[in-house]
């Protein structure tokens, strides 16, 4: 294995710097900022999903193949590669499928005090989880299977955005057993 402290033989010849600049402090780097603008338009199913939030509703998409419900709607069933057109309204209650206690601040979210808990929330009636914050209890009380419910913004603050849900709080209901929590639920109900 070649010694990393020496350049490869083919690159060992030194560059001859012209005399007129050889004694000067050389430029070692250049700044080349890039700024690109994109017009972001969500797909029609996501538009419908975002709009429903203003009515405190959470929409999912039901697969025509096996009835699996996806939230947020993706427009397609990712296992079967077919378009999904059927929307279903979901409960704002569910359970924590899994979670992460994050000690790092997120760029652009100065409002979040660290450490905070982000979790895969599995809504009643949905076949996959989606991400949400869990609060209203101590971080170390959060566990896989814990039942939670959405805490919504005040009516007058509601917009076409998933941010209408401030966080998910524990309901105090009995927890979903760990072997039935999160993604594991699907195999057991459908096989």
């Amino acid at each position: 294995m070649a010694d990393p402290n020496f350049p490869p033989a083919s690159l060992s010849q030194e560059v001859e710097i012209p005399e007129s600049i050889s004694g000067l402090e050389p430029v070692r780097s250049v700044r080349s900022p890039i700024r690109l603008l994109y017009d972001f338009v969500p797909s029609p199913p996501v538009q419908e999903y975002l709009r429903a939030y203003s009515k405190k509703k959470i929409l999912g998409h039901r697969s025509p193949i096996d009835g699996a419900v996806f939230v947020p709607p993706r427009g397609v069933d990712p296992r079967h590669g077919v378009l999904i057109e059927e929307s279903v309204e979901l409960s704002d209650k569910g359970h924590v499928g899994n979670f992460c206690v994050t000690h790092l601040p997120i760029p652009g979210r100065d409002d979040l005090e660290t450490p905070y808990v982000s979790a895969w929330i599995h809504l009643d009636g949905a076949s996959v989880g989606f991400l949400g914050l869990v609060a209203g209890c101590e971080n170390d009380e959060v566990h896989i299977g814990m039942r939670v419910q959405a805490v919504w913004k005040e009516e007058e603050e509601l917009g076409n955005t998933a941010e209408n849900i401030l966080y998910w709080k524990p309901t105090g209901e009995p927890a979903v057993p760990i072997e039935k929590a999160g993604n594991r639920a699907w195999d057991q109900t459908n096989e």
Binding site: V15, E16, I21, V27, R28, S32, P33, R35, D39, F40
Partner: protein, 153 residues
């Protein structure tokens, strides 16, 4: 259409403050720009490549012999930019051209600063115009302007 029915859309800005390390050859060219000098590099057949690369752009062999070239040269081809792109170094309409400097065997891309496309033609002679404040960047070269001797003749 009410506010609630309009399609939702948002502007997404992707922005990075890239700082690129140059290596010796590009760094020397940039140093030259800071000092109002233009450098090229010799290829194995003795021809000169401007701006210089640390490798031959056809054979990929390393190149190491840098030399100074003239600040004047000939427009090989051009087009008219109006309006300039928001992030380009130029605010006013100008020509974009491939310019072969005297002493170079290849051409470089840069602006020719004239008022209208009618002042541009292939083969015209141009000379470098420098910015007052230079940091070692390709835009230290404000652009090229028509060589005055040619106007006289």
């Amino acid at each position: 259409m009410s506010e609630l029915e309009k399609p939702l859309r948002a502007e997404l800005t992707v922005e990075y403050p890239f700082t690129r390390t140059t290596g010796t050859v590009i760094g020397a060219f940039m140093t030259g720009l800071r000092e109002k000098r233009l450098f090229g590099i010799k290829r194995s057949d003795g021809s000169v490549l401007v701006p210089p690369l640390e490798y031959d752009p056809v054979s990929s062999e390393p190149l190491t012999e840098m030399i100074e070239v003239s600040q004047s040269g000939v427009v090989e081809t051009w087009t008219w930019i109006d309006p300039p792109r928001p992030q380009s170094p130029w605010d006013d309409p100008h020509a974009l051209a491939l310019i072969r400097l005297d002493g170079s065997d290849t051409s470089m891309l840069h602006a020719v600063l004239v008022g209208s496309p009618s002042e541009m033609r292939t083969g015209m002679r141009v000379t470098a115009q420098w910015k007052e404040e230079r940091v070692g960047h390709i835009a230290d070269l404000e652009g090229f302007i028509q060589e005055t001797e040619e106007i006289d003749s």
